[in-house]
């Protein structure tokens, strides 16, 4: 039954942005559950609230209303320090723009999340970093700087950084968006392998080919979940309408 326990559960989640007296309802009444070991993809047109959803899941932002339970605990009352700790320990981010730090080497970039923990020794850190880099097949480039790598290589390093801390969930926001199809596929293969190894993944994409890698496909439109289906039928629908 462990497999079926909800790792993440959102209830009536709402996010409203207030800018210059304009209310943007980025998310409205979102219900979503992600179970441990699941690979969920989030799809929808630009501006429908995908990134907003992910940032709330990643505790980078807070919902305007609604409930967010992570690992059985509500995150609503957490202070900034605890939120930072959870981001660090429970969540791994992968961004469209890679977001590696240019001044740090590959090794240092991957090591970064571990440096924000108190209880990891240097040698432990080193073995964790090397393990993560081997998983993404980048261990031969540890002394390189991001600018010296191709886009695909940078994203693999970013994946290594996301998983080095052994988070409960990987959050990927259009991880292939800045990559050509070869590199994109390579990154997706990597995510599939991680999923096969037991990782929980929530990925935003608008490429149906990559959505097909997921167990389950959530459709967002105008801040609402409009459909929740297994991926195959979605692919079929797209093919049919094309």
């Amino acid at each position: 039954m462990n497999d079926n326990q909800a790792l993440i559960s959102l209830r009536e989640l709402q996010k409203v942005f207030l800018t210059d007296e304009i209310e943007t309802h980025a998310l409205s009444e979102v219900h979503l559950e992600i179970r441990e070991g699941e690979f969920v993809s989030v799809e929808g047109p630009s501006g429908c609230g995908k990134s907003t959803l992910l940032s709330i899941l990643g505790l980078l932002d807070s919902p305007t209303a609604g409930e967010y339970v992570l690992n059985g605990k509500s995150v609503a009352g957490l202070d900034a320090g605890n939120r930072a700790r959870i981001r660090n320990e429970e969540i791994g981010f992968i961004f469209q723009a890679f977001n590696l730090i240019g001044d740090l080497t590959v090794y240092e970039n991957v090591e970064l999340p571990l440096t924000y923990r108190d209880n990891v020794s240097r040698t432990e850190r080193k073995s964790m970093v090397m393990e993560a880099l081997e998983q993404v097949d980048m261990s031969h480039r540890i002394r390189h700087y991001p600018a010296q790598l191709s886009g695909g290589q940078q994203q693999r390093v970013a994946v290594a950084r996301a998983l080095v801390g052994r988070p409960s969930i990987l959050l990927a926001d259009e991880p292939t968006g800045n990559l050509d199809s070869n590199n994109g596929t390579a990154v997706m293969d990597l995510l599939r392998d991680l999923h096969a190894g037991g990782s929980t993944i929530c990925m935003v994409t608008h490429d149906p080919r990559y959505a097909a890698f997921a167990d389950r496909n959530v459709h967002l439109f105008d801040g609402r979940v409009v459909d929740e289906v297994p991926p195959q039928s979605v692919v079929g629908a797209h093919v049919a309408s094309a």
Partner: protein, 809 residues
């Protein structure tokens, strides 16, 4: 014309970012203003050639007796005349001394600084009279009719510029003298003299070496070098030594440029240290501006890259950016000139009001050379602050900029540069603040200095009896004794006295030997303050006698020669024994001027610091009754119950009753006299204080700018770190760690620099150049400034919303 286009373009670019331009202009104005001011002072006092024809040929000559550690001594008349006759290196030698000249024209008597000049002096310096003539050899013969040469100011003020003044007769130092000429405006040789009389010696009853000593100078003949002159004088002085062993044994001549004599070493050191300070301010300003330009450069990489892609050569791009720096620097120089003008004006007024007199050729004003310096400094500033940013901006890989997606990597070198600039700023500020601390501390020590007597409500004046009217010591003593009695009765006077010098200001000196010592040929005599005082002096200055009695009517010219010694002398020589009744010997065995004399100690006074404000050492000090050893120049001190200055007219009346021709001068309160005394040090302290404040503001502002800019640049990075779980503390640490590192490095370098630079102040300051309190205070001040400068950007960094930072796609 291309240049004009570039300038126009530069001005357009600058006016497009008014905030940046205004900030840069302000910084440059402060930096350049300070340095123009510093240079103008340096030029006016030290660098400017003397206003004499061919000033570099003029040499100053004095004597030294190296065997006795005397390296600078004025010249006696006999040596001067012998040298003048024997030497061939110089066209001629001149001699003078400076002294009081009292004149009485139509109205009240007036006292002027006068030059007592040998006959060749005016010709040597190229001083030509406005009308009449200067002195001829016949004027300097003792007993010849008295003559006087007026300065422009006296001529205008006392004689309303009377065109027929030459040939008229004027009362000068108690004698009728014929006015033989008037010197042109601005001529005040040698220092600030208003009037000149011929140098004369009564040859009849004078031993070799006796009499007023002189300053001697000469003009080198064409083709003769100073070292050739020195060689010749070596021969001359040894000839004189064998001819007159009793006076000239071991006496040699010291020849140096005339200008070196009139701005003393302390002043030179102070002014050079000020030049160092303003240079530091300018360098700090340069570092600041370089940093501003660097950040602007980063903001402009896109513009530059596009222009480069369109085919602009690197040289052209660099020149274009440098022109912007030049435009800014010239603007800064212009405003800086205005600031320096104001500074010079304020200093000149401060100095003028203090009654201190600089040599006449020193005019505290901006001149042509200040403008030249301003332009040169602006050019150097533009290059120094603009070149590196321009090279950085144009040397980047265009390719990288146009398709950069790894954040921050191109700016790594820029960052390194701007961080070392901050280190430089901190180091330079440290040096400057230490120099400022040392001078300010010195002026505070002087300000607070306790001479050992109450100084409030004391009116002082100086009187100088002309030799012609008061030839004998008895006449001089009679005048001052009489004066001392009459001033006691002035209404409003609590106590009054007459003395050779005032506490903390000046005094006569004498060499002395306590009776316990044996006098041998090798005995080195020490000198100490030796002050003639009227009866009641100690009472007037509220200084109790610790032992014995004060001078009174029992002491006369004929009675036993007596002395009152101070406590320092009593305890160092006699320990716990009572010195009353013991003897001290005054005068040196080989000085014919001052025959040795034994005096019996009748009292011991509490210590009064007689020599200088800030003088730490407790020296032996001697007081003698003025009836036994009168001097022609004495000070009057009135302790009053009300406003001291209000009693000046009454005092003038009393003096006038005794001698209608005797002018009073230096009429001021004792406190004013002290303020005047320390005015140069205060001015130096104020200048350094202003420079230090500017430097501190610039350094802290620069640091703030760099860190803020850094935070903005690192916004995405900080967002990523946030997403990866960095908490507030680690973000704040990240931002401030850099500042801490820069601070540490800057302080380290600064301390080394300050240890070196402060040495130059050694002769000017009253604290150790390594005074730990000042170093620690300065370090704390900088640490606090850095913390303040870091606080705001760190808080900004903490507040960065991770989502906003990451929303870059």
């Amino acid at each position: 014309m291309k240049l004009l286009d570039d300038v126009r373009y530069a001005i357009r670019m600058l006016s497009k970012s008014p905030g940046f331009s205004a900030l840069t202009l302000t910084i440059l104005s402060l930096g350049l203003g300070a340095s123009i001011f510093g240079f103008a002072v340096l030029h006016a006092i030290v660098l400017k050639p003397l206003p004499f024809s061919e000033p570099h040929e003029l040499m100053h000559i004095e004597t030294a007796i190296l065997e006795r550690d005397i390296d600078s001594r004025e010249v006696n008349f006999d040596d001067f005349s012998d040298w003048r006759e024997m030497q061939t290196s110089f066209e001629d030698l001149g001699a003078f001394y400076r002294g009081t000249v009292n004149i009485r024209g139509s109205e009240k008597p007036e006292r002027y600084d006068g030059g007592f000049m040998s006959d060749g002096s005016f010709a040597l310096i190229g001083g030509k009279p406005l009308m009449g003539r200067t002195f001829i050899a016949a004027d300097t013969v003792f007993g010849a009719p008295a003559v006087v040469l007026l300065g422009y100011k006296v001529w205008q003020r006392t004689f309303n510029g009377d065109e027929d003044i030459v040939g008229q007769v004027l009362r000068v130092n108690g004698r009728d003298a014929e006015i033989v000429g008037v010197m042109p405006e601005g001529f005040m040789f040698p220092i600030m003299e208003d009037i000149w009389v011929p140098l004369r010696y009564d040859q009849a009853d004078r031993q070799r070496g006796e009499g007023q000593s002189l300053e001697v100078f000469g003009r080198l003949k064409d083709g003769v070098s100073a070292s050739q002159a020195r060689a010749e004088f070596q021969g001359i002085t040894s000839q004189l030594a064998s001819a007159h062993p009793e006076t000239n044994d071991g006496v040699t001549a010291v020849i140096k440029p005339f200008s070196d004599e009139y701005v003393d070493e302390g002043t030179r050191a102070a002014i050079w240290s000020m030049m160092i300070a303003v240079t530091l301010v300018l360098l700090i300003a340069c570092a600041n501006v370089a940093n501003l330009l660097l950040s602007r450069t980063t903001a402009r990489t896109q513009e530059v890259a596009i222009r480069a892609a369109l085919g602009a050569g690197r040289r052209r791009l660099v020149i274009q950016m440098l022109i912007e720096s030049f435009v800014l620097a010239l603007g800064g120089a212009f405003i800086g000139l205005a600031l320096a003008y104001w500074g010079m004006d304020a200093s000149a007024r401060f100095f003028g009001e203090s009654g201190n007199r600089l040599p006449f050729w020193v005019v505290l004003e901006l001149d042509f050379w200040s403008a030249v310096f301003a332009i040169a400094a602006a050019g150097a500033t533009a290059l120094l602050s603009g070149l590196v940013p321009a090279l950085r901006a144009t040397g980047l890989e265009i390719n990288l900029i146009l398709r950069e997606n790894a954040r921050g990597s191109t700016s790594r070198q820029t960052k390194w540069l701007s961080q070392s600039l901050v280190v430089t700023e901190i180091a330079l500020s440290f040096i400057l603040l230490v120099l400022a601390g040392l001078t300010i501390q010195t002026s505070l020590i002087m300000q607070e200095f306790d001479v050992g007597v109450p100084v409030e409500n004391v009116l002082t004046v100086r009187l100088g009896l002309p030799e012609a009217d008061y030839e004998t010591p008895a006449e001089q003593a009679r005048f001052f004794t009489e004066l001392n009695e009459r001033i006691q009765d002035i209404r409003g006077v609590n106590k009054a006295t007459v003395s050779g010098g005032l506490p903390g200001l000046w005094s006569n000196w004498s060499s002395y030997l306590p009776e316990v010592d044996e006098v041998t040929d090798d005995t080195r005599l020490e000198g100490a303050p030796y002050i003639a005082v009227a009866n009641g002096y100690f009472d007037a200055f509220e200084t109790p006698l610790l032992q014995g009695r004060d001078f009174d009517d029992r002491d006369s010219a004929e009675s036993l020669p007596v002395v009152i010694v101070n406590n320092t002398f009593a305890t160092t020589v006699f320990g716990s024994e009572n010195p009353v009744g013991r003897q001290v010997r005054f005068g040196s065995p080989d000085n014919a001027n001052q025959p040795a004399q034994w005096r019996t100690i009748i009292g011991v006074s509490q210590n009064i610091k007689q020599t200088g404000l800030g003088e730490d050492e407790e020296r032996p000090t001697f007081y003698v009754p003025l009836v036994q050893d009168p001097v022609r120049f004495m000070s009057v001190a009135l302790r009053t119950s009300g406003e001291p200055k209000a009693l000046a007219p009454a005092l003038r009346n009393v003096v006038q009753q005794l001698d209608p021709e005797l002018p009073l001068y230096w009429v001021q309160t004792l406190e004013e006299a002290y303020q005047d005394e320390i005015a140069p040090n205060r001015l130096l302290g104020i200048c350094f204080g202003v420079f230090a404040v500017i430097a501190l503001l610039l350094a802290a502002g620069g640091l703030y700018g760099v860190i803020s800019f850094n935070v903005i640049q690192r916004t995405p990075e900080l967002g990523i770190r946030r997403a990866l779980g960095a908490d507030d503390k680690s973000i704040a640490l990240l931002v401030s760690r850099q500042a801490a590192l820069q601070l540490g490095l800057g302080l380290g370098i600064g301390i080394l620099g300050a240890v070196g630079a402060s040495q130059i102040l050694e002769s000017v300051i009253l604290v150790s150049p390594l005074d730990p309190t000042i170093y620690i205070t300065v370090a704390l001040l900088l640490i606090v400034s850095v913390i303040i400068a870091t606080l705001v950007p760190s808080r900004k960094a903490i507040r960065i919303e991770p989502m906003a930072a990451l929303r870059y796609e």
